[in-house]
């Protein structure tokens, strides 16, 4: 014991000195990760990003690039970090700018225009940057009110379908949503109401929603896992809210890994409450491996990646030729007319809307 501890002490000490010296002199890892050798292409993205290992390996094999993935917090954080390190970016491609952040990203000149190969397979309505090609749409997702099927079946009430439904007395004290100031679905839901009722009308709607007993918690995790009676966590926590602001893809995920597979998902989507998020990728200005970056963007809208998307990030592919997995077609619901707000308008009004929303709903 004595000897081994002495040895361990020495190792730790040397390690510490080694590490701090290394740090003081600048780690060699740092420079290689930023892609000085053109064999590596670095993808900067948010913490929800994911891809199947084989899909990624195939791309690496075909293109000859090694993909280095850096996750830098949530989408807002990633964009802001990119703005701060503009001109000397952490990587080559940024994926994860959504329509709520798009204006900030492009107005700050983060991206070098690039017209991706295969862009023609993507519908015009999601190509929000038009023909400037600073960003390329990769996926869409819908923020919608989800409902607990069992609850409404038990009570023999129809689940709500639209925003108007939510302020009806039969849905009193049933909805839980997220803080629009801190949570991205919370913000999305606020934007949905702004799209539906207009700049002037939404505060009035929220007054009614508040009168109808909407509960606001800080983040999606608490809302979904602690308060929503339809989720696995909520069931364990004895949650009592059968309506929650979540994603259109949440119901299929509830079925994932459940054996035996049920007939339908335990939760459903109020399809008239949805706000559409579109996620984009862009080639970062000052990228060290521009060529690799372009190849990576092509890959993000390739059929292979687009097909892989839904089960990795629970979003919908944008490419026409992509196929939704069975899980989605069987348990998901199609959102036909999602609500949208022009990115420029979001950028201009976001802070004011959130501030008014806070004083209206939280106080």
């Amino acid at each position: 014991m004595k000897i081994s501890f002495r040895r361990a002490g020495t190792v730790v000490l040397c390690g510490a000195l080694g590490v701090s010296t290394l740090a003081a002199c600048g780690g060699s890892d740092g420079s290689s990760a930023s892609g000085e050798d053109s064999k590596t292409v670095t993808l900067v993205t948010h913490s929800s990003f994911n891809v199947s290992p084989d899909v990624l390996k195939d791309f690496e094999k075909q293109s000859g690039y090694k993909v280095d993935i850096l996750k830098g917090g949530d989408a807002g954080e990633v964009v802001n970090k990119a703005v701060l390190s503009k001109g000397n970016p952490q990587g080559d491609v940024l994926f994860g700018v959504d329509n709520t952040l798009l204006s900030r990203a492009v107005d700050n000149g983060l991206f070098t225009p690039y017209k991706a190969k295969g862009l023609d397979r993507i519908p015009e309505d999601v190509r929000l940057d038009g023909d400037k090609h600073r960003v390329t749409p990769v996926d869409t997702g819908d923020i919608c009110v989800n409902y607990d099927r069992a609850y409404f079946a038990d009570k023999k009430i129809e689940p709500p379908k639209t925003l108007d439904d939510l302020i009806k007395p039969e849905y009193k004290n049933l909805l839980v949503t997220e803080n629009a100031a801190t949570s991205s679905p919370g913000l999305g839901f606020l934007l949905a109401t702004a799209a539906e009722y207009g700049d002037q009308g939404w505060p009035d709607y929220w007054k009614k929603l508040k009168a109808n007993g909407v509960k606001v918690v800080d983040g999606w995790e608490q809302a979904y896992n602690e308060e929503f009676s339809g989720s696995a966590g909520g069931k364990k926590a004895g949650a009592d809210r059968p309506l929650v602001v979540s994603y259109a893809s949440s119901p299929p995920v509830e079925v994932l890994g459940v054996k035996p597979e049920p007939k339908e998902a335990p939760t459903g989507v109020a399809t008239g409450t949805c706000f559409r998020q579109i996620e984009f990728a862009g080639l970062l200005d000052g990228a060290k491996n521009e060529k690799g970056g372009k190849a990576l963007i092509d890959f993000l809208i390739s059929k292979r990646f687009q097909n892989d998307l839904p089960l990795q990030m629970f979003v919908n592919p944008v490419a026409d030729d992509a196929e939704l997995p069975e899980l989605f077609t069987k348990f998901g619901e199609q959102v036909d007319k999602p609500l949208t707000v022009d990115p420029k308008k979001i950028a201009e009004n976001r802070e004011d809307w959130v501030k008014s929303w806070q004083s209206l709903v939280l106080k």
Binding site: S20, G27, S34, L84, D218, A239, L256, L311
Partner: protein, 568 residues
């Protein structure tokens, strides 16, 4: 016999002084460089980015921010909840520190490791556990129909839950080494048990208590997740506001102004702390900790032990138990399904099976601990030596003591964004390097190491060092032979803390997370951020593993601690 000329002897004395100062400053080189490069410079840079336009400082922003009634409210709430949390934590944990220091009871080591577990848990997970205790259908609700979620009590209790170990470990560590005979002597002189404690033990413990209180304050002052999950969106702390302004709105001017406000508040607390502690630290008679603990005797002591155990049970074990229970409870009966799922990559949240996060976490934590112990240890030794020397060098060194605490009171996001705009040029382009994670974690670990070691180092009698010197021990050898055996316990406590801090650290890790190298807290958060029973269950399972890893690591440290060879 010619007497040596005055100039010669004066020269010798001067040389000796210079050598002493040089040694002190030499010891400080690594900590100072570390602090400057990885804290002061990045934070200064991000503040300047926010408040400086061209060459002019827009300090008017500061006035705007201070005049905003919403922000005033945030500042007020942040401060008072931190003070209340600190007071409550001391109240609840000091008896615990006493019990762990002075009583022997079965399972003591295990329990001491377990109370540290909360420290490593991600706040999302703790929020879940606490809601199960205080919220709807929770223990309090079931017994008395009492619900504390969305009240400030939930926040305060959760802060006690998190910081219980800080007090038990830092104060208890020293307490166990105080000679109980001094208190006995006071009682022989007619002091009541409490008076003896107040007059003899409390002053001796003073610096350790103040140090622990300071750390708890700083932790709760910068508390973020707990406040929002348990308090609801109506409670906002300064930390949350800085995070929102920086990471979400990129309003760097407001964030910078808030950061300066945060600095001012933390600076004021540090000054109060320095003022309380300054004259209290003194040489103490330290004895072997193993000799001071004994079985409780009499009703009072048993009641005290019982009370502490009950507190630990309710406040710490029950919430932890809830998480374990949920990890074992898939929809169809109890089982290990969620744990099994962790070994496969199928669930799709990561590029690697989630279980690999354990190894990643351990690697990061070991590196961070090594850095924190080296940097903090050197700083603590230099700060101890400074007590003897007065003068300018001594003052600078003492000022550095306070500075080292600052990282605890400054937003992780401020430091993180600071890193981003400062450590971005070779040779220090560390933005994307893995080393940034342990470095950032060590920044939080260093104050723990310094705070835990300093009271013990300062308590070592200088003449004990002199005794060793005269027997032929060089200064380094004196440190190894005299200081180290006496502070070894404190060092291990400190290392345990640094390790736990790093194991549970989330902010820095998520800042540059790599999908092929997730750490445990990041993996838990990722899983919790996804819908579905399997993801939720895996998050609980992984949280359970995180607790287990923490408890086992700390138990191993405890084992080393009780191995009384007296030599390193």
């Amino acid at each position: 016999m010619a007497v040596a000329g005055p100039e010669v002897a004066e020269g010798a004395r001067l040389r000796k002084d210079v050598r002493g100062s040089a040694l002190r400053l030499g010891l400080l080189v690594v900590p100072v460089a570390f602090f400057a490069v990885f804290f002061a410079y990045p934070v200064a840079a991000i503040v300047a980015r926010g408040l400086k336009v061209g060459d002019t400082w827009r300090l008017g922003r500061l006035a705007d921010v201070l005049a905003d009634p919403d922000l005033q409210h945030v500042l007020w709430f942040t401060t008072w909840q931190a003070l209340a949390s600190t007071g409550l934590t001391l109240l609840v944990a000091l008896p615990g520190a006493y019990v762990f220091a002075r009583f022997d009871f079965p399972g003591k080591q295990l329990l001491r490791a377990v109370v540290t577990v909360p420290f490593v848990l991600p706040t999302v997970v703790v929020g879940t556990a606490f809601l199960a205790l205080l919220g709807r259908g929770g223990v309090l609700d079931a017994l008395w129909g009492l619900r504390l979620d969305t009240t400030v009590w939930a926040i305060l209790l959760a802060h006690v839950f998190f910081n219980y170990a800080v007090v038990v470990r830092t104060v208890g560590g020293l307490w166990a080494q105080l000679d109980p005979r001094q208190e006995e002597a006071a009682r022989m002189l007619g002091a009541s048990r409490f008076a003896a404690w107040r007059k003899v033990t409390l002053p001796a413990l003073g610096p350790a208590v103040a140090g622990a209180a300071l750390m708890v304050f700083l932790f709760t002052f910068t508390s973020f997740g707990v406040v929002q999950i348990l308090g609801g969106p109506t409670f906002t702390t300064l930390e949350a506001e800085i995070y929102r302004q920086t990471a979400q709105l990129l309003a760097l001017d407001t964030a910078a102004a808030l950061t300066l406000v945060q600095f001012a508040a933390v600076g004021a607390i540090l000054a109060v702390h320095a003022w309380t502690v300054r004259r209290r630290e003194s040489a103490l008679k330290l004895v072997d900790a193993a000799q001071t603990a004994r079985r409780p005797q009499g009703t009072v002591q048993w009641a005290l032990l019982g009370g502490v155990l009950l507190t630990v049970l309710l406040l710490i074990l029950v919430p932890l138990g809830v998480l374990v229970e949920r990890s074992l409870h898939p929809s169809a009966g109890y089982g290990l399904d969620y744990f099994r799922a962790l070994t496969s990559v199928d669930s799709g949240a990561f590029l690697v099976p989630p279980i690999e996060a354990i190894a990643n976490s351990l690697e990061y934590a070991l590196a961070a601990t090594a850095i924190a112990v080296t940097v903090g240890g050197l700083a603590a030794v230099a700060l101890t030596r400074s007590r003897r020397g007065g003068g300018a060098v001594g003052r600078i060194v003492r000022g550095f003591d306070a500075l080292l605490m600052l990282p605890l009171g400054v937003s992780a996001v401020t430091v993180g964004f600071g890193f981003l705009i400062t450590l971005d040029e070779p040779p220090l382009d560390l933005r994307s390097s893995w080393i940034l994670v342990p470095l950032a974690q060590a920044l939080v670990g260093v104050p723990f190491v310094v705070r835990t070691m300093l009271p013990v180092l300062r308590a070592v009698d200088e003449r004990l060092r002199e005794a060793a010197t005269v027997l032929g021990a060089s200064p380094w050898r004196v440190w190894r032979e005299v200081d180290l055996p006496l502070v070894r316990r404190a060092l291990l406590v400190a290392a345990g803390f640094a390790f736990a801090v790093s194991l549970g650290e989330f902010g820095a890790t998520v800042f540059i997370a790599r999908p092929d190298q997730p750490t445990l807290p990041v993996a838990v958060a990722t899983l919790l951020g996804r819908a579905g029973e399997l993801n939720y269950g895996q998050a609980m399972a992984l949280s359970t593993l995180l607790m287990l890893v923490c408890a086992v690591s700390l138990l191993l440290l405890e084992r080393i601690r009780t191995d009384r060879t007296g030599e390193f």
